[in-house]
């Protein structure tokens, strides 16, 4: 059992996290300053200076970091598909 759940489903079964488009990201790091859930990690000494370190910390359905991203480099999965998937998992677990 994972530590956290969302709507009764184990968080790590739900695919919801930001994806960084490195061709757009300008490493302004506004997303890391903005997100209180420590989803991102900055590695100043690496070639790729920003990664999604803790995807399961990301609040399911929250896309606020993508709305403050200047170069529009963050994207999220489709909300409807995620909702459907959560419903399916709940059904499977209820029946299983």
């Amino acid at each position: 059992m994972s530590e956290t759940t969302f709507m009764g489903v184990e968080r790590d079964k739900i695919d919801w996290k930001p994806t960084i488009d490195y061709s757009k990201c300008d490493y302004c790091m506004e997303c890391t300053n903005f997100c209180p859930h420590k989803v991102f990690e900055v590695n100043e000494n690496e070639e790729i200076k920003l990664i999604v370190r803790n995807p399961n910390n990301c609040v399911v359905f929250c896309r606020a970091c993508s709305k403050i991203c200047g170069p529009d480099a963050l994207s999220f999965p489709d909300k409807n598909a995620t909702t459907q998937r959560i419903k399916e998992i709940r059904k499977e677990e209820k029946n299983g």
Partner: protein, 285 residues
């Protein structure tokens, strides 16, 4: 019409959208009744611009979603009357901006479109928000953590999602909003972007956003349906969400399309109250 305004552009020089914001501000200030606020000088010259901002309604022009001009307005405690986000306008009008800093044909067209929109006489909204006559009477349970008090309605008609939004369901209508957890976290709410009247919203779809100097929160609808009214008072007084996010600070009313199915993924008072306590305790570290 934008006249007698204080105009605060981001004037950012690292993206084309920032350059456009400065250009639009300059054009608007060709009308001598408008006053421009230089964001760079404002950082060091409070006195001059505080007076201008205090005497005029404020138009903020942000280039990109980093919203530097809005953040500056928040830092200076200015009330925003109107706001434009250049990249959003470009997307809306299907205009691609160049990656450099020059104003070329596309940028010129966008500037013209935006100026036309701002300078035309106040357009009458085509869709009118009609607040329904349904009555909403809240009965609260409270939870205190330090100096913060969190109210949670315990009415059986009120449903919650785990994203801290509520829906008070009466018949085929739901009034929705955020909970005290959101408003306490944001502290002073400075800006509210409402959803569009008539918009069809999926469950967990976005129904506007609210912003403080600390953060921006996307409102995640607990229910699916059509937006039939919005709380228009919030556009000018978003701080009403801080006062009471359930009564004065409600966000929108939604005509429900499939509440039986939506309900599957919603929780009632008991579960939300427990979740809220956990979140509050968790956010204390």
């Amino acid at each position: 019409m934008v006249e007698n305004y204080a105009i605060l552009p981001c004037n950012g020089l690292d993206k084309c959208a920032g350059v456009i914001s400065g250009e639009i501000a300059k054009k608007l200030c060709e009308n001598e009744k408008n006053e421009i606020i230089c964001p760079v000088f404002y950082r060091v010259a409070d006195a001059k611009y505080n007076k201008i901002a205090g005497e005029h309604p404020l138009l903020v022009i942000d280039g990109c979603p980093t919203r530097c001009a809005s953040k500056l307005a928040a830092e200076k405690n200015l009330k925003i009357s109107q706001r434009i986000l250049i990249t959003e306008e470009a997307k809306y009008h299907h205009i691609e901006l160049n990656s450099g800093l020059r104003i070329l044909e596309n940028e010129k067209s966008l500037i013209e479109i935006i100026l036309n929109g701002l300078n035309k006489a106040e357009a009458k909204p085509t869709k009118v928000s009609k607040e329904t006559k349904a009555s909403y009477n809240f009965d609260y349970e409270t939870f205190q953590n330090g100096k913060f008090i969190f109210r949670v309605p315990k009415n059986s008609e009120v449903y919650y999602n785990e994203n801290d939004c509520w829906a008070y369901v009466v018949g085929n209508l739901a009034r929705i909003g955020v909970t005290d957890f959101v408003q306490q976290n944001l502290s002073d709410i400075l800006y509210f972007t409402p959803p569009e009247i008539g918009a069809e919203i999926d469950q967990f779809g976005e129904v506007g956003d609210i912003e403080s100097s600390k953060a921006l929160v996307e409102l995640i609808s607990p229910v699916s349906g059509k937006v039939v009214s919005i709380n228009e008072s919030l556009v000018h007084q978003p701080e009403m969400i801080n006062e009471n996010p359930y009564e004065l600070g409600w966000v929108a009313e939604i005509e429900l399309t499939d509440f039986e199915s939506d309900k599957e993924l919603l929780i009632g008072f008991d579960k939300y109250f427990e979740l809220l306590k956990k979140k509050v305790e968790g956010s204390n570290g």
